[in-house]
Subunit: 264 residues, 2 copies
Amino acid sequence: MGAAVPLLTEAPQRTNPVPRWTVPHEVSRDQPLRWTYRTDNTSLFSGLDVDTAKQIQDLVTMRIHLRKGVVLFRAATPFTALYAIQAGSLKTVLIGEDGEDQVAGYHMVGDVIGLDGIGSDVHDCEAIALEESEVCSLPFDRVEQTARDCPAFQRNFHRYLSREIARQSSLMLLLGTMPGEKRLATFFLELAQRYQARGYSSSEFLLRMTRQEIGSYLGLQIETVSRLLARLHEQGLIHVQGRAVKLLDRAALKQLAHTGWRRE
Amino acid sequence: MGAAVPLLTEAPQRTNPVPRWTVPHEVSRDQPLRWTYRTDNTSLFSGLDVDTAKQIQDLVTMRIHLRKGVVLFRAATPFTALYAIQAGSLKTVLIGEDGEDQVAGYHMVGDVIGLDGIGSDVHDCEAIALEESEVCSLPFDRVEQTARDCPAFQRNFHRYLSREIARQSSLMLLLGTMPGEKRLATFFLELAQRYQARGYSSSEFLLRMTRQEIGSYLGLQIETVSRLLARLHEQGLIHVQGRAVKLLDRAALKQLAHTGWRRE
DNA sequence: CGCCGTCTTGACGAATCTCAAATAAAGTGG
DNA sequence: CCACTTTATTTGAGATTCGTCAAGACGGCG
């Protein structure tokens, strides 16, 4: 293991518009991977014994620091590693053959991204930091090695992959069958739950994404998102002030999210 | 391995509506798993050496025969095995918390289904035969064992899981950003490609699903599907006669599927 | 031939998109 | 910290797509 790499040379930066040429910045090889971010035990790393944990530690080759808007990996780029988010949050964006794009997911501390690349050795989405973030790279061949050596980790890994499938399934259900208002309610409830699992407030938070990005994720136009937010606000279910959101009536939100979809 | 189980006791049957209580029928423990269904090498079983192939064979505990409309596994039911489709085709249906449902995929010979259950030990979709079909069950603990023993299979398995993620991603892109006409064009092109990979005609085929099911898959109402089909027909891109479809102008279909989405 | 489920077609309305413009917020340079 | 520029967000009006309701045609099956 090499000597610690100096922290982040302070290059002049602009955060907007996103400088597409900005490159992820390696910070250090020596900092340990941390994975105790979630209270639910759905992490890729939960429930492992000491030896395995050690082996996982050795997996980490790089710790990467990302400024807001920086691209961690790009679509159609060779896949070599998974990335465990250590701090901050990222979005993954699907790129259609013809340039249309859609936010496929928002990922925060404790999530592992890059799974889409396994099947074709090429990423089919791109990952972009929504804020100052940090990730650890886990070279995939070593991940597979570890999976063979350690059944518990193998199990975790398979579960993690499968849960990603399930996550996308519910998103499909959302996109395919729910009207906008319910999509938005569901979105907030899911965010709240994920914040909660990470020990943050689940009733009050700052959105890390723009209206545009919310719309893209939910299959809605930005104007529609804006109007729906206003409606939920008027109805007293939430309080919105720019990117600051408070959930005022969780029960009503759930009710809204769970009743009266299009086809019943 | 037990003696061959008698073929399918001929119970009185109705195909419509689907008798929900009908149970999959075990046919035989002894027939070998076959996996040479695809010309692309994306099968879970491609490229394995002889020893591994043998081990995979031993994986198969049951060969299950399904009549049209029969449920292979139900949502919220314990997950124990994956299922390799040997003949016929099935749909997987997502069931929302509130009863809304959506077809999540159509699966044919050579596909493996049930991956969604790994993450939570419970299936979160249900699988239903669209026609007379046959599947082999692969107990999941033995799948994992095989993956540990055989890196090539492990790799295949991980790729397969990842491709399922990618498949769903493109479906999300479809549901989230494309107008109905393009969804339908994309649907036909994908079907054609899958038939081709299995050695069937890619320009002429019989749909195994109802308009209702197509609509569910594409996030459209049945009437909309019907109208869009008529439109594509009028435009001379396809020929539709009930469930018989011919793709008349593949180039134009691709053009349609790949241009002029909602946000460009 | 008649039943029943599937599919098509028409008329209408609701949800959502598009276009356009105003306002608010954030970032930049001095 | 201010003035300026750029970007993000909101809001309105009108167009469009798609869903809903309803009726009839089609097709398989007893």
